[in-house]
């Protein structure tokens, strides 16, 4: 991956301090996002994908402790003062959340949301400029600019998510983090929102970090994929090779578990067992309990990342 990276994550560690113990949410995650590239972070609940995504904008709750680097334009976002991070947010890196209803202020019109966003970066911005920018962004997200004066509750779920995306791309950021952008939506609307992302990929010059639990969405949108399990990157590969030839046992089993719509394939697969307790992790591989290929070594030693061709996999099978 030699082309220029717009974002590089190096040995990211995130812990949450809670009353009942330390939650090891992310451990030693490293990956990068190249310019104009879409990176999918995929995994099940509790895998640390959202935490990782939020860390990119330094949007973690106060009980989170971070180590490692998130390098944007040669600087580590994690150690940047809050004031400078605020300048990055929205303008350089923006985020689209899962639930557009709670992320939009119910008493502000769509126009006001844009105004607020732009004022944060340019205090004396003129109204015409706001309307101009907002109209372009809304159009790119498939919303008519006539709706600038509407309030969030006047939009359907899918339309609200489009408005969120428009806000995300308004200031032409280099990186957009999309955290489960379609999870609260129905399949048909989800497809419509995916179409928006496809369009953005084609027309805009930006990198997308797409966080989702849905392997189908990743397959349709991502160029590169990070598969996370229990806070660790288990596999990191380009989308074609990952789906054609998954290396990590977890990826293999996960792909098999997805219900498909082929009528002649009636086999149901699942991964036995459940996620380890993130407050009390096992000594060896975190997938050991559920892995059909587990060896003695896997129980005792945690596997490092192994490089296979141009791919990365955290599994002793590839030692």
């Amino acid at each position: 991956m030699s082309q220029e990276n717009s974002l590089e994550i190096k040995n990211l560690n995130i812990e949450y301090l809670t009353r009942s113990g330390t939650v090891h949410a992310v451990k030693d995650a490293s990956f990068s996002v190249a310019k104009k590239e879409t990176l999918g972070i995929v995994g099940e609940s509790g895998c640390g994908k959202s935490t990782t995504g939020h860390a990119i904008l330094k949007l973690l709750p106060s009980n989170a402790r971070t180590k490692g680097e998130i390098v944007y334009k040669g600087r580590n976002v994690l150690t940047m003062p809050e004031k400078e991070v605020r300048h990055l947010r929205g303008k350089d890196i923006s985020i689209v959340f899962q639930d557009p209803m709670t992320s939009l202020d119910p008493i502000m019109r769509v126009k006001d949301h844009f105004l607020e966003l732009m004022r944060a970066h340019k205090p004396n911005v003129k109204e015409e400029e706001v309307i101009q920018t907002a109209s372009e962004a809304l159009e790119a997200a498939g919303v008519s600019k006539k709706r600038l004066d509407n309030y969030p509750f006047e939009f359907s779920g899918g339309m609200r998510q489009r408005v969120m995306i428009a806000l995300g791309i308004a200031l032409k950021p280099n990186v957009i983090v999309a955290d489960e952008p379609t999870t609260s939506l129905d399949v048909v609307v989800q497809e419509q929102i995916m179409e928006v992302f496809r369009h953005l990929k084609k027309t805009k010059d930006m990198s997308i970090v797409l966080i989702t639990h849905d392997l189908g969405i990743v397959a349709e949108l991502a160029d590169k994929v990070v598969v996370m399990y229990a806070g660790e990157v288990m596999e990191y590969a380009d989308v074609y090779n990952l789906y054609k030839n998954p290396l990590h046992p977890y990826t293999q089993l996960l792909l098999k578990s997805v219900p498909n719509i082929k009528i002649d394939d009636m086999e149901l697969h699942h991964i036995p067992g459940s996620l380890p307790d993130l407050k009390n992790l096992p000594q060896g591989c975190r997938f050991y309990d559920r892995c059909p290929f587990a060896k003695e070594k896997c129980k005792k030693e945690e596997p490092p990342i192994f490089k296979v061709d141009k791919r990365e996999v955290r599994c002793w099978l590839y030692e």
Partner: protein, 331 residues
């Protein structure tokens, strides 16, 4: 009861929710405005048969599930379960009849009382319906069922609380509680929607296994056609309070007829980056049930809509092969 007779027969089920209006408006209007969440739905399910009910949110599918077992009062319709006229039952009789029909909700955590051990939760239906003579006997029944739904070691699980379980385990507890009274009819309302992919199939398998073992009539409500495929012999597709298509699972997957079904099927993302489909996508989103289109309710979004659609009724037409569709133009 002979073999082919249906366990569940629902005819013309309707559920209208009254709209909140000011008393001034109420004085002026003679007829109170309503939301037609379910608008005349009929179906039947045989023993050991699963009928899928697929639709988007707002289609009314959840309301169908709850009205069928009278967790909410239907506005109109007839419901027969196990030869019992459910609509006629009142108070105590309805309460007693509930052991014959059960429901599994979407959110397993919310379905369980956080202050009741899961053993007691599952035992409670036995106490309510006076099944088993002593605590010991009932506990035996619960433990046996825990083994069956793979909550092992069962005696250890008995005293655990919902928060100590994983999502998949919780849903298996909920399923155990629903099955323990040996019901004839089971409603599953998006029972696997909140589960992670890696455990979802396990719960699907369990439901399949129990359906076979208890010869259940199963109403499988879901937004996910792919999950429905594994469980259901037949699938019905619902849109804005109406069933638009109903057919055997194979028939529906191989020859979907109604435009909405086709769209629903095309929208499912496929986990294979090499497949690039040409998707037909509808305009906009599901309209609000307070503002329903005239004629065919799907016509405002249908890519094939024409003038005639504005004033047709959405009668299901038999296209052969027991394949019913509400669109007369596509055969």
């Amino acid at each position: 009861m002979n073999k082919t007779e249906s366990v569940v027969v629902v005819k013309d089920l309707k559920k209208y929710f009254p709209l909140k209006i000011s008393w001034l408006e109420a004085l002026r209007k003679k007829e109170k405005p309503t939301v037609k969440a379910v608008d005349g739905i009929s179906f039947d399910i045989k023993s050991n048969e699963a009928l899928g009910l697929v639709g988007e949110s707002g289609s009314g599918k959840t309301t169908v599930g709850r009205s069928t077992i009278r967790l909410i009062e239907p506005t109109n319709g007839s419901i027969k379960i196990h030869n019992q006229d459910i609509m006629r039952l009142k108070g105590e009789n309805l309460r007693k009849a509930r052991k014959n029909f059960q429901i599994i909700f979407q959110d397993p955590m919310a379905s369980l009382n956080p202050y009741m051990s899961i053993g007691k939760s599952v035992m409670h239906p036995l106490e309510i319906h006076n099944i088993g003579s002593s605590f010991k006997e009932r506990k035996e029944m619960v433990l046996e069922l825990f083994n069956k739904v793979n909550l092992k070691p069962s005696s250890e699980f008995f005293n655990r609380f919902p928060r100590q379980l994983s999502g998949g385990q919780r849903q298996r507890v909920v399923i155990a509680r629903a099955i323990i009274t040996n019901p004839k009819f089971m409603v599953s309302d998006e029972a696997t929607a909140m589960l992670d992919v890696s455990v979802r199939s396990q719960v699907l398998k369990l439901m399949l296994q129990l359906k076979d073992e208890y010869k259940l009539a199963f109403l499988f409500i879901t937004h996910d056609l792919a999950s429905a495929k594994y469980i259901c012999e037949r699938i019905s597709v619902m849109y804005l309070g109406k069933i638009v298509e109903i057919a055997s699972t194979r028939e529906l997957f191989e020859h979907p007829l109604h435009p909405y079904t086709k769209i629903l099927m095309g929208a499912i993302p496929i986990p294979d980056p090499t497949i690039k489909r040409n998707k037909i996508m509808p305009k906009g989103e599901i309209p609000s049930p307070t503002d329903m289109p005239t004629g065919c309710r799907f016509r405002t979004r249908c890519p094939y809509a024409k003038k005639e659609c504005e004033d047709m009724d959405m009668k299901l037409i038999d296209m052969g092969n027991n394949h019913l569709s509400a669109c007369p133009f596509i055969k």
